[in-house]
C-alpha cells in the first residue's frame, strides 16, 4: 500500500505562508501536506500526526482563523494564507483556553491536546457563549482517547465562564 500522505508528487515550488505571525518562504512540493510542512520543514511539532485522514483532529491548526485538519491541506492550498499552530496561540505564556485546560485537567497523555485547544479557540472566537450542542459539534472532530472528554468539557465551560466575566 502506497502511503500517499508521504508522497509529494511534483517538484518543489515556492510557498509563501504566514505561520504564527511570521512571513515564511519555503520550497516544497505543492501537494505536500501542511502537517508535514509544519512538522518537518518548520519544526513545529506541537501539531500532531495521528490518523492523517482528517478524522482525529490531532493536527488541527487555524488557516485564516478557521480550524483545518492540516493533514488534509496541501501546501498550495495554503499559499498566501495565515496559519496559526498551537505554538502561535500565545506569544508567551498561555491563552485563557490553555489555562483552563491546565486547571481543570482537560488532558492526560496530551497528544490530542494541541489540536483540541485549537478547535476550542476557533469555537470561542466565533461564539463566546456556545450551547452544549455547539460545543459537541465543534469538538466532534477531535478525538481524545484518555480523558473520556470530562476534563475537556469542564475546561471549555470554565473558559466560557471566565471569558464572560472578563467581558462583563
Amino acid at each position: 500500500m502506497i502511503e500517499k500522505t508521504y508522497l509529494s508528487a511534483g517538484r518543489s515550488a515556492p510557498l509563501r505562508i504566514r505561520v504564527n505571525g511570521r512571513e515564511t518562504e519555503l520550497d516544497v512540493p505543492p501537494s505536500k501536506r501542511l502537517l508535514h510542512v509544519l512538522r518537518d520543514d518548520l519544526g513545529l511539532t506541537g501539531t500532531k500526526r495521528s490518523c492523517e485522514i482528517g478524522r482525529c483532529g490531532a493536527c488541527m491548526v487555524l488557516v485564516d482563523g478557521e480550524p483545518v485538519n492540516s493533514c488534509l491541506a496541501m501546501a498550495y492550498q495554503c499559499q498566501s494564507k495565515s496559519v496559526t499552530t498551537i505554538e502561535g496561540l500565545s506569544e508567551d505564556g498561555m491563552t485563557l483556553v490553555q489555562q483552563c485546560f491546565l486547571d481543570e485537567g482537560g488532558y492526560q497523555c496530551g497528544y490530542c491536546t494541541p489540536g483540541m485547544i485549537v478547535s476550542v479557540t476557533a469555537l470561542l472566537a466565533n461564539d463566546p457563549s456556545p450551547a452544549d450542542t455547539d460545543i459537541q459539534e465543534a469538538l466532534s472532530g477531535n478525538l481524545c482517547r484518555c480523558t473520556g472528554y470530562g476534563g475537556i468539557l469542564r475546561a471549555v465551560k470554565k473558559a466560557i465562564e471566565l471569558k464572560r466575566e472578563q467581558t462583563g
Partner: protein
C-alpha cells in the same frame, strides 16, 4: 467522597507536565529528529499466512539514498521478541503468520525514498490456508500454524460438584457472549528515534511501558550488552497496554547500527492497525444456576480467546480471564475451562483490563439474566452472593482484606441514578415514543499486579542532588495517566516538600532504577510503598545532615517547603541547596536512599493469582433510539473502592477515561477482520467515542476507607474504570427494550423497531 475539583480542594493540583502539553512545547519521542537522520520503514506481509520462498532486497539497496535493507539474516542476535515468551519474529525467515508480520526494513534519506525502497523489495510468497476462527482453529482438521498445534494456552479452575449444583438449581441461564477486537487507539502511533553513539552505544528514544524490559530484549536481538543500550521511553502519547511489547524498536535499532546514522520511525495509522496489538476477542459460554433464594449453586464457563499468531502476554491474559469469570461471588460449585488459540488474525495482546473486560461482561450478563428469571432486583441478587471481606479470592487464594466489595455495593444502591429506576417517567417519552430509557448496573472486582509466579519487582530512589533538588527516580513511564503528578503529590504530602523542591526522573534506563513495569494498575501502589519505605531513612538522613550543619538536635528540625525548618514553629532554617552545599563542603556522602521489593503476592502456587484487588460498581442510564438502533449513554455513576485517593485529578481521569473505553467496547469499537485481513484500517471506520457520545454526566464516588492496620495503601485504578460500563450498558438496554445483548459492540439492527407514525 464524590470526586471532583471542588471536593478535592487544595489537593487538586496542576500537573507538573501540564504546561508543556497545553502549549504544544512538550516534545514526544516521535517529535524528535536529527539533521542527519534516516527514515526507517518496515515491509510487512500482504498475506495472513504464507511461506516465504524468496526475499531479494538488492534493487532497494541499489537505490541512491537507501542506506540499508535488512532481513532476518541481518539480525545479529535472537531474531525474536516477546515479554513472556520470545516467539515474535523481528523478521520472518520462511513463513508469515499474520498481516502485520515483518519481512524487511529499510533506512533511507527521505520518507519518499523509504517508501520506494519498500516497493523495490521482491518477496515471493506461497499462500497457506488461513485460520481465522479460534474455535475452528482447535478442531482436529484445522490447518496448523505450528507443528505442535493451534492450542496456545489452556487453564482451568474447578471446585464443588457442578452437576449436583445444576440439578439443585431453580433457574439456569445458558448464554454465549462475544467481545470485539478492540484497538488501543493511542493517539500517538508507535515510533521513535534511534541514535548510534560514537562510543558504540545505542540510544532508543521510543515509548514503552517498561524501559528495562525493552533494553533486555534489544540486547538479545542486537547481541549487544545491555550496558551499551539506553532506552528513553517517556513521555508517551497514550499506550493502554498497547506499547508494552516491542514494536518499532527492533527495526530502528538494527537500522541505526547497520547504517551508523540516527534512524526515525513513526508508524502511519494503518501500519499501527495492522501490526499493533488488540484486545483478545473472546467467546465465552456460560451456564449458571441459582436456587429459589437466588444463591448461585453452580457456575460453568468456557472461554475461547483469539490469540493471533504469537504469544505476547496472551497466556497471562487468559489466566486473568480464568480468575475474573469467577469474580466476586460465592458459588456452590465452579467449573471453568479456558483456551487461547493461535490464528492468522491480528495480533492480540495486553490491553487495559487484561481479559477482565471480556470475562466480566459475560459474568455480569449471567447475573442480570438470573435476576430476571427470579423476578429479583439484579442488585439484590448480587448482594446475596457477594463475597465477604474475609473470603478468599476468586481462585480460593488468600487476598488482602478490604471491605471494598460491600462498600461499592452500598454506594451504588444509595445513588440517585440507581434510585431513578423506579421512576415511571423513565422508560419512554410521550413526545418521542421511539426513544426508550433504561438503567443497568454491573459489579467489578479487578486484580492488580502481575500475580503469583511472575517476577514483579518494585522500587525507587530518593536523592538530595548537589543543586539542592530532591530527586525522585523511578523506572516507570508517563503515558498520560499522571504518574509524574501522582509521584510529586506524594512527595509533597508525605514529606512536606514544595513542588519546586522536587525533580522527578523517569523513563531513562541510564539514570533510573528498575521499578518493574508500568502495567497492571501497579505503579501508583508501588510508588506509594516505595516512598513509605524510604520516608524514614531518607528523611532521617536529611535531618541528621542538617543537624550537623546547623548545630541543632535533629529532633528539633523538620522537613518542609523549601528546606529544613524548625520543628517548633516551622521557620525556615536552611534551604535544601545550602544543605547540599554543606554536605559537599564537608566531603560527606551524598544523601541517597534506594528501596527494592516486590509487589505483594498471595501465598499460593497458582500462577497469576492476584493478591490486591480494587472494587467498582457502575450504574448507567441509556436512551435507545429504536428507529436507528443507536444507544446513547445519558448518565453514569461509578463507585470505586481502591484505598486512598493519591491524586484526585488523576483518579477522576482514570475512571472517566477508562469508562469511555468501555463505552466504545460496548457500542462502536471493533477492528473488523475478514479472512485474516483488516477491513477496519483507520479511524474513519474504527469508531472511538467522540465528545458527542460522552455528553452524559459521570459521577465518581471514591471510597477511600481501608481496614485498620492495612499496610498496602492505594490499590490500582488504572484499569478498573474500563471494565464495568459495558455490562451495565447491556443491562440498561435490556431494561429499556426487553432485548438481551450478548455480543459487543451492540449491533444497532438488534434494537431497531418498525414504527407507524399516525
Amino acid at each position: 467522597m464524590l470526586l471532583n475539583r471542588e471536593t478535592s480542594g487544595g489537593r487538586w493540583r496542576i500537573r507538573p507536565d501540564g504546561t508543556g502539553k497545553v502549549t504544544g512545547k512538550l516534545a514526544y519521542l516521535t517529535d524528535l529528529s536529527l539533521p542527519n537522520m534516516l527514515i526507517g520503514r518496515v515491509l510487512r506481509s500482504p498475506h495472513p499466512h504464507a511461506y516465504i520462498r524468496r526475499i531479494d532486497v538488492s534493487k532497494a539497496l541499489a537505490m541512491p539514498g537507501v542506506h540499508a535493507a535488512l532481513t532476518a539474516k541481518d539480525v545479529p542476535g535472537l531474531n525474536r521478541f516477546g515479554i513472556a515468551r520470545p516467539d515474535y519474529p523481528v523478521f520472518c525467515e520462511d513463513r508469515v503468520r499474520f498481516i502485520g508480520d515483518a519481512v524487511a526494513a529499510v533506512g533511507a534519506e527521505t520518507a519518499e525514498l523509504a517508501e520506494l525502497a519498500l516497493a523495490a523489495i521482491e518477496v515471493e510468497y506461497e499462500p497457506l490456508p488461513v485460520v481465522d476462527d479460534p474455535e475452528r482453529a482447535i478442531l482436529d482438521d484445522a490447518p496448523l500454524l505450528y507443528p505442535e498445534g493451534n492450542v496456545f494456552h489452556r487453564n482451568e479452575f474447578k471446585f464443588g460438584d457442578i452437576e449436583a449444583g445444576f440439578a439443585a438449581a431453580a433457574h439456569i441461564v445458558e448464554e454465549t457472549y462475544s467481545t470485539p477486537r478492540q484497538m488501543h487507539t493511542y493517539m500517538e502511533t508507535e515510533g521513535g528515534l534511534f541514535v548510534p553513539g560514537e562510543d558504540g552505544r545505542l540510544t532508543a528514544y521510543s515509548p514503552t511501558q517498561h524501559g528495562f524490559m525493552d533494553r533486555m530484549q534489544l540486547s538479545r536481538i542486537l547481541a549487544k550488552p545491555e550496558a551499551e543500550i539506553r532506552v528513553v521511553s517517556s513521555p508517551i502519547g497514550g499506550s493502554f497496554g498497547g506499547k508494552d511489547e516491542l514494536n518499532v524498536q527492533p527495526y530502528g535499532a538494527l537500522l541505526a547500527l547497520a547504517t551508523g546514522r540516527p534512524v526515525k520511525l513513526h508508524n502511519s495509522r494503518w501500519e499501527s492497525v495492522r501490526a499493533g496489538l488488540k484486545r483478545h476477542p473472546m467467546k465465552i459460554r456460560m451456564k449458571t444456576g441459582v436456587d429459589a433464594d437466588g444463591r448461585l449453586v453452580a457456575h460453568r464457563a468456557y472461554v475461547v480467546a483469539d490469540k493471533g499468531p504469537y504469544s505476547t502476554l496472551g497466556a497471562e491474559v487468559l489466566n486473568f480471564a480464568t480468575e475474573h469469570v469467577v469474580g466476586p461471588y460465592r458459588y456452590g460449585a465452579v467449573d471453568v475451562d479456558t483456551v487461547s488459540a493461535y490464528t492468522n488474525n491480528g495480533m492480540s495482546g495486553e490491553f487495559r483490563g487484561f481479559g477482565g473486560n471480556q470475562a466480566i461482561f459475560a459474568l455480569e450478563g449471567q447475573l442480570d439474566r438470573l435476576a430476571a428469571l427470579l423476578g429479583m432486583d439484579p442488585w439484590e441478587l448480587r448482594r446475596r452472593n457477594l463475597r465477604q471481606a474475609e473470603d478468599p479470592g476468586p481462585l480460593g487464594q488468600p487476598i488482602s482484606v478490604t471491605g471494598g466489595a460491600g462498600q461499592v455495593w452500598e454506594s451504588l444502591a444509595g445513588s440517585a441514578l440507581w434510585g431513578r429506576r423506579s421512576d415511571p417517567a423513565l422508560r419512554s417519552s410521550s413526545t418521542a415514543p421511539w426513544l426508550l430509557c433504561g438503567i443497568g448496573s454491573a459489579y467489578v472486582m479487578h486484580g492488580a499486579g502481575l500475580g503469583v509466579g511472575i517476577p514483579d519487582p518494585a522500587g525507587g530512589r530518593l536523592e538530595l542532588r548537589a543543586d539542592g533538588k530532591i530527586e525522585a527516580a523511578f523506572g516507570y513511564e508517563e503515558f498520560g495517566q499522571g504518574l509524574i503528578a501522582s509521584l510529586t503529590q506524594m512527595l509533597v504530602e508525605m514529606f512536606g516538600f514544595a513542588e519546586r523542591d522536587i525533580v522527578v526522573t523517569i523513563g531513562d534506563t541510564d539514570v533510573v532504577p528498575d521499578s518493574g513495569s508500568t502495567t497492571a494498575s501497579r505503579a501508583t501502589s508501588m510508588m506509594w510503598q516505595s516512598l513509605r519505605r524510604m520516608r524514614g531513612p531518607f528523611g532521617g538522613k536529611l535531618l541528621e545532615a542538617a543537624s550537623v550543619a546547623l548545630g541543632k538536635p535533629a529532633d528539633a528540625l523538620a522537613l518542609g517547603e523549601g528546606g529544613i525548618r524548625a520543628a517548633e514553629n516551622g521557620r525556615l532554617l536552611m534551604n535544601y541547596a545550602s544543605l547540599a552545599a554543606s554536605l559537599a563542603a564537608s566531603s560527606a556522602q551524598p544523601i541517597r536512599t534506594q528501596t527494592r521489593f516486590s509487589y505483594p503476592t498471595s501465598p499460593v502456587d497458582r500462577v497469576g493469582a492476584h493478591y490486591m484487588y480494587s472494587y467498582a460498581a457502575v450504574a448507567v442510564e441509556v436512551e435507545v433510539n429504536t428507529l436507528t438502533g443507536r444507544v446513547r449513554v445519558t448518565d453514569q455513576y461509578h463507585a470505586v473502592a481502591a484505598g486512598p485517593v493519591i491524586n484526585p485529578q488523576g483518579y477522576l481521569g482514570q475512571i472517566e477515561g477508562g469508562s469511555s473505553m468501555a463505552l466504545g467496547f460496548a457500542l462502536t469499537e471493533d477492528a473488523v477482520m475478514d479472512g485474516g485481513h483488516y477491513v477496519t484500517k483507520n479511524l474513519d471506520t474504527y469508531l472511538v467515542p467522540t465528545i458527542v457520545e460522552q455528553s452524559g454526566g459521570v459521577t465518581v464516588d471514591a471510597i477511600e476507607e481501608l481496614p485498620e492496620g492495612d499496610e498496602h495503601g492505594p490499590r490500582g485504578i488504572g484499569e478498573l474504570g474500563s471494565v464495568g460500563l459495558a455490562p451495565a450498558i447491556a443491562e440498561a438496554v435490556y431494561q429499556a427494550t426487553g432485548k438481551r445483548v450478548s455480543k459487543l459492540p451492540i449491533d444497532p439492527a438488534l434494537l431497531q423497531e418498525r414504527f407507524r407514525f399516525d
